[in-house]
Amino acid sequence: MTTMTYEQAMEEFDPVFGIEVHVELNTKTKMFCGCANEFGAEPNTQVCPVCLGLPGAMPVTNQKAVESAIRLGLALGCSIRESSRFARKNYFYPDLSKDYQISQYDEPTCYEGSLDVVLDDGTVVTVAIERAHMEEDAGKNTHVGGSGGIQGADYSLVDYNRGGVPLVEIVTKPITGMGDRTAEVARAYVATIRDIVRGLGISDGRMEQGSVRADVNLSLRPKGVAGESQDDVPFGKRSETKNVNSLRAIERAVRFEASRQASLLLAGKPVVQETRHWHEDTSSTTPGRSKEEAEDYRYFPEPDLLPVEPAREWVEELRGTIPEHPAKMRARLREEWGFSDLEMRDAVAADALDLIASTVAAGTSAQAARKWWMGELSRVANDREVALAALPVTPAGIAELQGLIDSGKINDKLARQALEGVLAGEGSPSEVVASRGLEVVSDDSALEKAVDDALAAQPDVLAKIQDGKVQAAGAIVGAVMKATRGQADAGRVREIILQRAGVEG
C-alpha cells in the first residue's frame, strides 16, 4: 500500500474535522467537593468520601466552577441555557471512583457559539462551537511492571487526586472546507482556546500538565463533482485521536491521520470508525476501541444535583468580565506599543503580554517594559526554571525601577544591581537602592575631586582633548566610574572633564 503525504491526501480528498478540548479549571476546590484542586500532590492526599465515591457520599456543585464555565461559554459566543442539568455517564473503570462520571448530556450549560481563529498569515477562520459543558475529571491509573501499559502489568495503582477536578469540554461542530490548511486551523483553534482560558484566568492553560487536552476527530470524503455542492457529499468514517496534548502534536496528528486515511481509501480499504491513541515519540496513532465495541453510557439526569439555573442578571454581569478576543487584543496592543511582529511574537511566546501591559499601565514606556521582561527578567526566569509571572517582582516594581532610571537617580548598571536585590527579596527597588547605597553620585564637589585625581594620574589626557581628541575623555570617565564603583553620573563626569580642558562638550 502506498503511503500518501498530507499534501497528496489533501489533493485527493476533502477533510472534515472536529475538536473536543478539555479545559481543567483552576478553582481552589474540586467540582463537587471541598478537596483542593492542585497539581502534583502526593497520591491520594487530596481526597474525601465524595471524590472517592464512598457509599453514602453526595456531590455539591462548585459555584465558582459554574461561573468559570459560563464565562468561557460567553467568551466562545455561546448561549447560556436558563436551566441545564448534570447527567451521569455510566461506565466501569478503576480510576472513575463512582463508576459514573458526572457530566452534562442533552442540556449543556453553554451551547451554539462561534470563535474566530486567526492564522499566521492573518486569515480569519470562524469555527462553529456546538457546546461547552461541565464535567468532573477521573483519577489516574499507573501500571507497574510489564511495558507500563495495562496489558502485562504486575499491578496497577490509582491516584484519585485528579478525580473530581472541574473540566469544561468544548466541542466544535464539524469544520469543513479547510483543505490543506486543516492542520494549521486545528492547531490555531486549540491555541486560541488556550489563550482565551488564560485571558479569562479560569485555567493555567498548560498543555504539558494536561490542563488543556484535545481529542481530534477527522474524516475524509471525496472531492465533489464540478457543478455539484460539496455540502451534499456525505462525510466519511472518522477516527477520534485522543489526548493530543501539545500544539505541535495537534498539527502532526491531523497530518498523520489524513495521510493514513487517504492511503487506506486509495488502496480501496475502509477506514474504521474508532478511537486512536496518539504517540508523541513516533508522531503516529494506533487503534484503540472500535465503534462496534463502544460502550453505551446509559446517560440519565443526575438525581443528586439540582439543575443549574443562573440568573439572567448574573450572566450579564459575567459578560461584562469577558476580555477581548486574544487575536484582537494582540493586534491592538502591537499597534499601541509599536512592537515589531517579532517582538510581539516573542512576548506572546514568553507569556509576557499581561506583565508588559501592567508595567505600561504603571507608567513605563512599552519598549522599556518589553526590555525588562524579555531581557533581564526572562534570563533570570530561565535560570530559575520558573514562569516570568512567578518571579518575585511585580509589574509595579519594574515600573518603579524604570522610574528611578528615568529620573537619573540610577543608571542602567545600578538598576540591574537593584533588580538583583529585589529578586533576592530585599525590598522594593527604592528600598534596595537606599540599603545598598546604589544612588548615582551627582554631587559636583565629589565628582570634581574624582576627575582631578584621575587627570593627575593620566596627565597626557587633557592635552589630547585640547588637541581635539575628545574621545580621550572616555579613559577618565572610566577611571572615575571605577573609583566611584559605578555610582557616578557618567554624563556629569564628562561635562566636568571638558570644563577642565576648557572645551565645550
Binding site: 453514602g56 453526595m58 455539591v60
Partner: protein, 509 residues
C-alpha cells in the same frame, strides 16, 4: 441498676417519658442503655432486628450524658435516650453494610449527616438495624445476613426494607430507630409491626451518608412507637444540610407541637380525603384491613374532620413507573461496589474479571434483578420508552396529588393491602412482593410526606393494620396533628398504645 429503676421496665416506656425521667433524675442514661442491651440480648436471637450492636459505644455516650447532666450542663431533649440506626446510614467507626455481603466488614471513615445529628443530640447508638440488601425489598428477607422476624408472629415478615428498625421497636429493643423510605420502607414495616413511621418531605432530611438506592426517591425518616416520639426524633434529624444539594433550605416543620396539638383530639375544620385508588374500594385488600381503615375514618369524623373521597387516576401506573425509575437509578448508584476501594474483593486475573466476580458473589438475587432491569431501562434505544415514560407518569402522579390536595388537607389510605405475610411466602414471586408497596409508592414519586400508624388488629388473624396519612410537600406537621389525634382516640379504647399488646417474646436465658 438502682432500686427505683429496677421496679420499672424502662424498655416499655416511650422516648418522651424516658427523656422526662432522665431530666428529672428518675433514671440514668446508663440504666436505660443497659436495659435495652439486656432486652436485645434476651430477644434479638429470634427477632434478628440488629446486624451490629455497639454496647460499649452506647454506654460510653450514656456515661458522658449522665456526667454532664450531673454537672448541670444543658442537654438536648433526647440526650441519653438510646436509638437504633438502620444499616443504610454510614456511622464512623461502626460497621455499615446496607444489608449486603459486598460491604461485609467495611468500617466507614465518616458519619452521615443524620448520624452526626444523632450524636450531637447525645443519643446513645445501640447498633445498626437489619434491612433488605441495599433497601430492596418489602420483607427484610433479602438481607444478606438473614431475615428479621416480626415480633407479633415470628413466622411472619416485619416488612421491609426497614424490618430491623420496625421490629426493634415492636420488640422493645429500642424506643426510637431511623429508617429510609424509597417506596414505603419506613411506612410498610411500621404498618405490619403496629409502630409509627414517617417519610418526611423529599429534602426535609439530609441524605448525605445514606447509602443510595434511588436518589430521587430515597428519604430518611424517624420511627417510634408513638406519634410524639416520632416527632421528637424528626426534629433531631431534619433541617438543611449543605452537603446534600437536594436538601430543603427551610426550617424543620414544627412537628412536635403539631403532635401535641393533635393529642387534644379536635379535628374541627380538617378535610380528610380518601384516595379511591388506594382505599381497597376496587378489591384486593384484606377484609380486616378495610374494616380497621373504615373504623379509623369514623374516628376522624367523630373528632370533627370532614371525610371526602378523591380520585387519583394515574396511580394505576405508579407501581410500573416506580419499578423503572428505581432500578435505573439503583443500577448507577450500585456501580461503585466494584472492589477497587472498599468492601468485598474476589481476586481474578484482571480488574474487569475481579469486578465481575466480586459483584457476582457480593450481590444477592434481588439486587442483581434490579441492576439488570435498570441497566436495560437506561440503554440506548430503550431510554425514552422506559425511563422517559416513567418520568412522565411521575409528573402525572404529582398532578393528581396537586388536584387532590386542592380539595383536602390530608389524604388517607390503608398503608398496606394485607397484614404481614409468612416468611418465604412471596420470596419467589417478586411481583406479589412489589404489590405490597402499592399504597406507599405514590408519595415517593411525588416527594410528599407520609406517615403510617397503627389502626388496630385485623379480626381474622389478630395482626397489625396500618393507617397511612399523606400531606402536601412541606406540610409534614399535618401528618403529626392528624396522626396524634387518631392515636389518642385509639389509645382511649385500647387503654394505651397498640404496641403494648404485642405477644410476649420468649426470653433467652
Amino acid at each position: 441498676m438502682s432500686e427505683t429503676s429496677s421496679l420499672t421496665d424502662w424498655t416499655r416506656a416511650t422516648a418522651a417519658r424516658m427523656a422526662d425521667a432522665l431530666a428529672a433524675g428518675e433514671v440514668t442514661s446508663v440504666e436505660l442503655v443497659q436495659a435495652h442491651l439486656d432486652r436485645i440480648a434476651a430477644v434479638d436471637g429470634p427477632v434478628h432486628a440488629f446486624l451490629h450492636i455497639d454496647a460499649e459505644g452506647a454506654l460510653e455516650t450514656a456515661r458522658a450524658v449522665d456526667a454532664d447532666r450531673a454537672a448541670g450542663v444543658s442537654l438536648p431533649r433526647l440526650a441519653g435516650v438510646p436509638i437504633g440506626i438502620k444499616d443504610v446510614l454510614v456511622t464512623k467507626g461502626l460497621p455499615t453494610t446496607a444489608g449486603s455481603r459486598i460491604l461485609e466488614g467495611w468500617i466507614p471513615p465518616y458519619d452521615a449527616t443524620v448520624t452526626r445529628r444523632v450524636r450531637e443530640a447525645r443519643m446513645p447508638i445501640l447498633g445498626k438495624t437489619n434491612m433488605d440488601e441495599f433497601a430492596m425489598g418489602s420483607s427484610t428477607e433479602h438481607s444478606g445476613y438473614g431475615p428479621t422476624h416480626n415480633p407479633w408472629d415470628l413466622s411472619r415478615i416485619p416488612g421491609g426494607s426497614g424490618g430491623g428498625s420496625a421490629a426493634a421497636l415492636a420488640a422493645f429493643e429500642a424506643p426510637l430507630t431511623i429508617g429510609s423510605d424509597t417506596g414505603g420502607s419506613i411506612r410498610q414495616p411500621a404498618s405490619v409491626t403496629a409502630t409509627v413511621g414517617v417519610k418526611p418531605t423529599y429534602g426535609g432530611v439530609s441524605r448525605f451518608g445514606a447509602i443510595a438506592l434511588a436518589s430521587s426517591l430515597d428519604q430518611l425518616g424517624p420511627c417510634g412507637r408513638t406519634v410524639l416520639d416520632t416527632a421528637l426524633l424528626h426534629e433531631v434529624m431534619g433541617g438543611h444540610d449543605e452537603m446534600d444539594a437536594t436538601s430543603l433550605d427551610e426550617p424543620v416543620p414544627a412537628v412536635v407541637s403539631a403532635a401535641l396539638e393533635g393529642a387534644a383530639m379536635d379535628l374541627t375544620g380538617v378535610k380528610v380525603g380518601v384516595v379511591r385508588e388506594l382505599s381497597g374500594a376496587d378489591g384486593g385488600y384484606q377484609a380486616g384491613v378495610t374494616q380497621r381503615f373504615e373504623e379509623s375514618l369514623a374516628r376522624l369524623r367523630d373528632m370533627g374532620a370532614e371525610v371526602v373521597e378523591v380520585s387519583c387516576p394515574s396511580f394505576e401506573y405508579a407501581l410500573a413507573a416506580y419499578y423503572v425509575i428505581l432500578p435505573s437509578e439503583a443500577s448507577s448508584n450500585l456501580a461503585k461496589f466494584d472492589s477497587v476501594r472498599f468492601g468485598l474483593r474476589v481476586e481474578r486475573s484482571t480488574v474487569e474479571k475481579t469486578m465481575l466476580a466480586t459483584r457476582a458473589e457480593g450481590f444477592g438475587d434481588e439486587v442483581k434483578r434490579r441492576i439488570i432491569l435498570g441497566t436495560y431501562a437506561l440503554s440506548a434505544g430503550y431510554y425514552d420508552a422506559y425511563y422517559g415514560s416513567a418520568q412522565k407518569v411521575r409528573t402525572l402522579v404529582q398532578r393528581d396529588f396537586d388536584a387532590a390536595f386542592a380539595q383536602c388537607d390530608v389524604l388517607v389510605s390503608p398503608t398496606t393491602p394485607t397484614t404481614p405475610f409468612k416468611i418465604g411466602e412471596r420470596i419467589d414471586d417478586p411481583l406479589a412482593m412489589y404489590l405490597n408497596d402499592i399504597a406507599t409508592i405514590p408519595a415517593n414519586l411525588a416527594g410528599i410526606p407520609g406517615m403510617s400508624l397503627p389502626s388496630g388488629l385485623a379480626p381474622e388473624d389478630g395482626l397489625p393494620v396500618g393507617f397511612q396519612i399523606l400531606a402536601p410537600a412541606h406540610e409534614d406537621a399535618r401528618l403529626y396533628r392528624i396522626g396524634a389525634a387518631l392515636e389518642a382516640s385509639l389509645a382511649a379504647e385500647w387503654g394505651g398504645p397498640l404496641s403494648a399488646q404485642a405477644p410476649e417474646l420468649e426470653v433467652a436465658q
